[in-house]
Symmetry: C2
Subunit: 408 residues, 2 copies
């Protein structure tokens, strides 16, 4: 597995572009397009929020046949809770792109991210679409990556390459995160919750079932394990397009090649998920919370996610204060089976609590462990053999500033 340049345009046959069409006050890029020269096997995972943007509803329809060939996305407006007109605008985005690209409307996927409940300025989007299509290029990934950002400070782009037999296969992706991030996307494996968007391209030849399964597995270990503010968006989506142009032997499930694809997607998704945390609104730290020794996988997940979701733990992270009592309290209210007498908590390498009480420990080492850019918290429940890892950032005064003045 090798990291390569090029983002979503690293795989053969993909072109991309991004530009400013007039939605964002900041005049930054707010429109993005990804296009494959060849028809793709395609699949997607979407928010489990029961209030869903029209793009989420319509993409699910468009993906029923596991086929797509382009993704059109805007930032600065979520086009959610915008009534019938909202649905009409999403369909217009798809049909305009389809016409210019000479595709069927249902082979175009649509994504929106930004403020909820404001009418989408569809005319600006339609007016800019010819320029957007005209500028599609094999080097356009960075422009598309910029076009989907909201409060993100930087592009999130990655690509990897691996061998399937003697054929080189590439997976590329762009993503955005920053706020309203607690994605719990519907996968075959998960309890069924940013706006986070992730668009993935690959030139692998793969069956729809194998693509869906590999995507689901990778999401569970990455995007579905992160939390910035605990607020699940109405627009979260991961979409994968696979055009087969690598001409590898078609990947099917339960084969060594399938495991390679899983590993590639997991590598790409986890890197992007961590980038989202590092670039989260107001964030200064990334915390990795591993719960092990749980009675069940669900218990491990609940406990890890409760710690990752605790405002008090996140404030302690911001302050660099190793207040592990807040970690113990969060594990306790997570709903997981917990015996405080058996629980062991570790900050970095320092064990802070064992046998129901504090260990004397090195206060300086503890403070150091909690002041790093990357903080590791390990909780061993001492009850079983299941483990789960969750990722979060600190809760800073800047997060509050950004989100108390979002629309002004």
């Amino acid at each position: 597995m090798k990291t390569i340049h090029g983002g979503v345009t690293a795989p053969l046959g993909f072109r991309a572009n991004g530009l400013y069409c007039g939605i964002k006050k900041s005049k930054r890029k707010d429109l993005a397009l990804i296009y494959s020269e060849r028809p793709c096997v395609a699949t997607g995972a979407f928010t489990t929020n029961r209030v869903q943007a029209s793009c989420v509803v319509i993409n699910k329809e468009h993906l029923r046949d596991y086929n797509a060939q382009a993704i059109i996305a805007n930032s600065g407006n979520a086009n959610c809770m915008t009534g019938e007109q909202g649905f009409e605008n999403t369909r217009t985005m798809a049909s305009t792109a389809a016409r210019l690209l000479r595709l069927r409307k249902r082979d175009v996927l649509v994504a929106s991210t930004g403020v909820i409940g404001k009418p989408l300025p569809i005319r600006k989007i339609v007016r800019s679409m010819p320029e957007l299509v005209g500028g599609l290029s094999r080097k356009g990934s960075e422009h598309a990556a910029a076009g989907i950002l909201t409060t993100d400070r930087m592009n999130k782009e990655i690509a990897v390459e691996f061998l399937v037999g003697k054929r080189r296969v590439r997976v590329g992706a762009i993503a955005k995160g920053a706020g309203m991030i607690a994605p719990r996307m519907e996968t075959a494996h998960a309890p069924k919750h940013a706006t986070m968007l992730c668009f993935v391209t690959t030139d692998a030849a793969v069956t729809p079932a194998a693509l869906r399964d590999a995507m689901d597995r990778a999401i569970e270990k990455s995007f579905n394990a992160i939390s910035i503010d605990g607020d699940m968006s109405t627009n979260d989506m991961v979409v994968v397009l696979a055009n087969g142009m690598a001409q590898n032997r078609k990947i099917v499930e339960k084969t060594p090649e399938f495991r390679l694809l899983c590993r590639a997607l997991e590598t790409v998704f986890l890197w992007l998920a961590k980038q989202m945390i590092r670039d989260a609104e107001g964030a200064t730290k990334l915390a990795e919370i591993t719960v092990r020794g749980a009675q069940s996988r669900d218990d491990a997940r609940k406990a890890a996610q409760a710690v990752a979701g605790s405002n008090l733990v996140k404030c302690a992270l911001f302050g660099g204060d190793p207040n592990w009592g807040r970690i113990a309290a969060a594990v306790g209210y997570s709903g997981a089976h917990v015996d405080p007498w058996k629980m062991q908590i570790r900050l970095g390498r320092e064990i802070v609590v064992r046998n129901g009480g504090p260990l004397p420990g090195n206060a300086q080492a503890l403070a150091r462990a909690f002041s790093q850019k990357n903080v590791k918290i390990t909780v061993d429940l001492g009850l079983g053999s299941y483990a789960s890892t969750a990722y979060t950032c600190d809760l800073s005064t800047n997060y509050v500033r950004i989100n108390s003045a979002y629309r002004t």
Copy 2:
């Protein structure tokens, strides 16, 4: 129902005191005692966190006979996750108070609040206990109220009076809140989660079952409906002592007198719960979120509490930004049955969304509604007839400051 002065010492036969014994660096009062001249029917409700402070575990034992006569409480240290020594210290607090008050140890209840995982300075407490007992007085409620505060800025004290037959009955209470507040105490009615403490006294004559039932009902509509930061404490408790000195006909369940007692407790608890929100760490606003039209009581509760728990909604409250999209998103991820096309959201008196989309509405009126000290948010799911109300505060830069430097 009449509000009267005197807090926990308003009911006949109760005395209280509070003083500084040396736990708090701020040198504010950190020890409190409430005592009844006569034995009391007593009951309590405790945190559902699976990590529970020794005082919670021991009080449950002491209350098994529904009898108690005194409450000793310290602030500045939660005495939780402090191992066997922590349990020993809680027992020492009870036994020392029992000896000085000539009670059985099991008739003394203990409460602690403050930092988790630090050894309790038990010698300071024991050394100050004679002075604490010596200073018990019929006017000591305010001192006890001060003795249990942590980051609270003000005392929380109330008393009411009502007639049972021709006898005047009084209910008094003190409480503390401020942080780590998302109490979901175990009651007979509730799904089973600050440190919030509430000590209630009454001179009513009442059966144990009626007292427990009335307390449980009142908690569900008050303390269990509030959330400051979503973090459930290891030490939450409500304890009620009823000494019967009003000499009313003994209150039993399903009688008009029982309903009076329920109303009195509900009035007292709801007032205290709202005071906790108003005095919450960094809070500048109180928000009352009512969800109606739900398919079930549980759905109504889930939806109201999801909105109350949303960091993004709370940041919008802080900024006075009527960003109702965040409310819709929180309702959507609450787990309640939601049909976005049927959902109606109201900020103050202004309807902002109906039929799946925004209403034009008066932007100024909206901004005004969201800038009040008391903000009312009403969500009608349009699916049924169940309703629930939750209470929260805004999430401010000060909340983060307070909690990123709590122990320093």
